[in-house]
Symmetry: C2
């Protein structure tokens, strides 16, 4: 089990409706040590990839994106959400349905902040149906840029986002993938991830 | 002139209606180097103050709050905005009028993330009328905590927020304070800040 899976077991709560509440360390209060470890872990997993920009979406992706931007020493861009769809010439705009707020949001980035020469690492705290990530991919492609990879803290493995993105050929790395969870027993099962993805140990554990 | 004032002159744009657009480095795209310098500068200015938590409000305050949390090695909390005012027992809730969106927002923090023992550094990217900062102060006080200080990137010196907070006795540090600006000439004047606040030089410049 990795540090994030352990932290979820220790401090998370499972709520009815397949909701994992981890706002004590990820998306309301931020545990800086966990944030730092997540940034290092994502950078390590994408060590073979060129990244010159980190892209996320407001609000809760900004903390992990900022830590990654600091590590990579590259600019961070956060896409903004808008209830109105008033497209203008100076913005790349896409759409994402928010299951949390049960409405369609416009998602945009001002054109000067995405380029055809960009190798963009897209990051977010949660991946479920993949609506937000697909909107971010769309923005990068509108600018003619390349999606270098997608880094996620917690993926809900039973929802379709992750599988779809992998089938589409994107390099997706999620630090913790939840296979199933049960609010009545407060039990959770994580997807096994290959050990070599979690640590470059030279010496094998017997 | 300090690094942030210089950056504003170089990359900012003044728009009609007394609007300073600095989203190329502060609140849409994030210049990590400027963010890092701002965090160091605020920590330096508050070096005589005990801080065990950093509090901001979503979304654009999260980046600077994360960098400060990293420097101080303390938890970061970001207050959330809600259009509904459905108060519940498990939240501290306050109100702030948003001049940008021309509506009243509820601002809340879940109770477990603010305590009576907290020494809170409140940070935000902009200070104008002080609505958001006053709501954050209110949340800290509801929890019985102490506001250790208020750290701001850019204060609009002609709007009432800064003066009010200082008169109320809060320790407020703004890295850049705009005294006046003119969109027609693209000219800006910053408030002189005492040199000793900007650098601990031992040797005097002649």
């Amino acid at each position: 089990m990795n540090f994030l899976e352990e932290k979820i077991l220790r401090d998370g709560t499972i709520k009815p409706g397949n909701i994992l509440k981890i706002d004590s360390f990820l998306n309301h209060q931020i545990d800086i040590d966990i944030m730092r470890q997540m940034a290092y872990e994502l950078k390590r997993r994408f060590r073979d990839v060129t990244v010159n920009k980190v892209l996320t979406i407001e609000a809760s992706g900004i903390a992990i994106a900022t830590m990654l931007g600091d590590l990579y020493d590259v600019p961070v861009v956060f896409a903004k959400k808008s209830e109105t769809a008033n497209s203008t010439d100076d913005k790349y705009m896409s759409q994402a349905y928010s299951f949390t707020h049960k409405k369609m949001n416009s998602v945009f980035v001002s054109k000067p902040y995405l380029h055809a020469t960009d190798h963009v690492l897209i990051v977010d705290d949660f991946l479920a149906d993949g609506q937000a990530v697909h909107a971010l991919i769309d923005l990068v492609h509108q600018a003619g840029g390349e999606v270098a990879g997608i880094g996620i803290a917690v993926e809900k493995g039973q929802q379709k986002g992750g599988q779809q993105l992998r089938e589409e050929g994107f390099r997706l790395e999620s630090i913790a993938i939840i296979e199933e969870m049960d609010w009545q027993t407060q039990a959770i099962r994580f997807r096994d991830q290959p050990r070599h993805e979690l640590g470059d140990t030279r010496i094998k554990h017997l």
